[in-house]
Amino acid sequence: MSIGKRNLVQTRKGSDLPTQGALPADQRDAALRIAIVDESSVRAAILEDGLREAGFTQVERIGETRNLLTRIYALDPDVILIGLENPSRDVLEQMFQMSRAVKRPVAMFVDQSDSASIQAAVDAGVSAYIVDGLKKERVTSILDLCISRFNAFARLQSELDHAKDALEERKVIDRAKGFLMKAKKLTEEQAYALLRKTAMNENKKIVEIAESVLTAAELLK
């Protein structure tokens, strides 16, 4: 066992943990206070929605990272979720050791027995911190949800990027078609067929041929 963890155990006081233990099981999770530190308000909203749907009602978002620790102390969360691309992760590391001002101990959610879930979290780009003494099982569902929402957001983001690229390509091809129709007196269908045939012959993408056509058109102006 590591020293850090030994200290955690030694210094934990039963009274530090509020009355959650006395609550009925179905109300316990709802009583968890969760803070989401995320500069991406869209992703934070997606995550918050997911948590609320899962029955966690006390969810707070922190978008602005100035005075982060003060804001976290004020919220006094049981669980903190933060994206790995956020430099303020290092600020949270201070929570483990600054005795002053901190009201409750917070420990990072890492455990040697848990490398699969850590790996999944890091792959998804998220890390979690939990209040000391909170049972791991109670946080697992939050972390799982967080991982799936982060992954879903990343997928959405890449689909969006993809859609944007496709739209751009479509515009380029349309402009090339227009040029060919005018210059070679072709119908739209013939212009497209010409682009496609050239692309196949040259083993290139249609959009690449369309770009070449537009470059040529620019030169011939």
């Binding site: 590591s2 020293i3 850090g4 963890k5 200290n7 955690l8 210094t11 006081k13 530090d16 990272t65 100035r66 005075n67 620790l69 790995l84 691309e85 956020n86 430099p87 303020s88 992760r89 290092d90 600020v91 949270l92 590391e93 201070q94 483990f96 050791q97 600054m98 005795s99 002053r100 901190v102 009201k103 409750r104 101990p105 917070v106 420990a107 990072m108 890492v110 455990d111 040697q112 490398s115 850590i118 790996q119 890091v122 890390s127 000391d132």
Partner: protein, 395 residues
């Protein structure tokens, strides 16, 4: 066949040897295909190294030790066969605080003993009139930035946990925080002190080497387990780093090196040159302070891991209550640094250091450091209260 490796780094000048090893082809010459991954936080570098997403990393020296001891975090034994940087930090204060410190100074304020006493007077005066305590930024709880600020403050009897506020700030936020008055000063590496000076809101008070003349700042760290399983790849990595280090140390290569490093850091190459040559503008009027010791990144004296440095880092960790004092932990901390691997791979032999402070550290205050007497080191500064280990200990 080349070995594919992923290595994490933070964009700082003391990553130079690693960046040059890859970008100047020294790694490829050793049959290594290295993907350098730029990171935004030390927590990320540590975690990705620990779970195996990185094969090696550019890391804060005290983090390599904290991770190996499992301080405040899961324990993952790391080894350091190669030291990347000595020194390189500076303490910058706001122009307002500098003016106040100068007013109450009883001598040459460039002497840290004088500036530290001046700080103690300012702190006492603020306390008397009920003003908010001064706030200082540093980069990570396990960092020389944290320890150098604390060492400097405590030299004049201040208790850094009671008399001032110390806050972790990501380096890119330091300057903005100084401008907004969120902090009154900070200790950080290049280029952030220069950025504060250039924008007219800060003044470099001390180079890190004026607080401690010779400290291991960044290391090349790997998981002990991985290193044990891949001795040949490790040896190839060390040879690539050693050649890059010799290249980077040669003054004739300065502009080539700066041109390699600058785009990786996202700064202009002139700033890298200023840093590597140890000539920093310290105030808005353009006064320049120069020190040969400001930062060192190349050569055997820099790269060969030194157990005294590991002991020093552990002593700071103990002094500031981040870990208990024990022979066992001290031995484990020292065993993180592996001069034996360095010697075995690079054919180096143990030679006495020709230059530098006699105790290997050269702190501006207190007795010489003795790696065999951490207890003596810690007790030399007992001030208002005894620090007890309180990692994750609150209330």
């Amino acid at each position: 066949m080349s070995e594919r490796l992923r290595i994490g780094y933070i964009p700082l000048v003391d990553a130079t040897t690693l960046l040059v090893a890859v970008d100047q082809g020294f790694a490829a010459a050793q049959g290594l295909d290295i993907e350098l991954v730029r990171e935004v936080s030390w927590s990320n570098v540590r975690d990705k190294l620990n779970i195996g997403l990185f094969d090696a990393a550019h890391l804060l020296s005290p983090v390599a030790i904290a991770s190996s001891l499992g301080l405040g975090h899961v324990r993952v034994p790391l080894i350091v066969p190669f030291n990347l940087g000595i020194n390189g930090n500076a303490i910058t204060v706001s122009t307002d605080l500098f003016a106040v410190l100068s007013d109450v100074s009883d001598g040459d304020i460039t002497d840290p003993k004088v500036s530290s006493r001046a700080l103690a007077r300012v702190v006492a005066e603020r306390k008397k009139r009920g003003a908010e305590p001064l706030t200082f930024g540093m980069t990570f709880p396990f960092s020389n930035h944290n320890y150098q600020l604390r060492f400097w403050m405590a030299a004049a009897g201040l208790d850094p946990d009671e008399d001032v506020r110390l806050v972790v700030l990501p380096p890119p936020y330091m300057v903005e925080s100084l401008a907004s008055g969120h902090v009154d000063g900070f200790c950080v590496g290049a280029p952030w002190n220069s950025v504060a000076v250039d924008s007219g809101i800060g003044r470099i008070l001390h180079f890190g080497c004026e607080i401690t003349e010779h400290v291991s700042e960044k290391v090349f760290a790997l998981r002990e387990k991985w290193a044990g399983e891949n001795p040949n790849i490790l040896a190839a990595l060390m040879r690539a780093l050693a050649r890059a280090s010799e290249f980077a140390k040669d003054a004739n290569n300065l502009s080539t090196v700066a041109n390699i490093v600058a785009p990786r850091l996202g700064v202009v190459s002139e700033l890298v040159v200023r840093t590597l040559t140890g000539s920093l503008k310290i105030d808005a009027d353009g006064a320049v302070r120069h020190s040969e010791n400001y930062i060192a990144i190349g050569g055997r004296d820099v790269n060969r891991p030194d157990a005294v440095q590991a002991a020093w880092a552990y002593a700071q960790i103990v002094r500031w209550g981040q870990a208990p004092l024990s022979q066992d932990l001290c031995a484990r901390a020292q065993n993180v640094f592996r001069p034996g691997i360095y010697d075995a791979v690079l054919g180096s032999t143990i030679e006495p250091r020709l230059t530098g402070p006699r105790d290997g550290i050269g702190a501006f205050s207190g007795p010489d450091f003795d790696a065999h007497d951490i207890a003596g080191h810690v007790s030399a500064w007992q001030t208002k209260r005894a620090y007890r280990p309180r990692l994750s200990v609150v209330r």
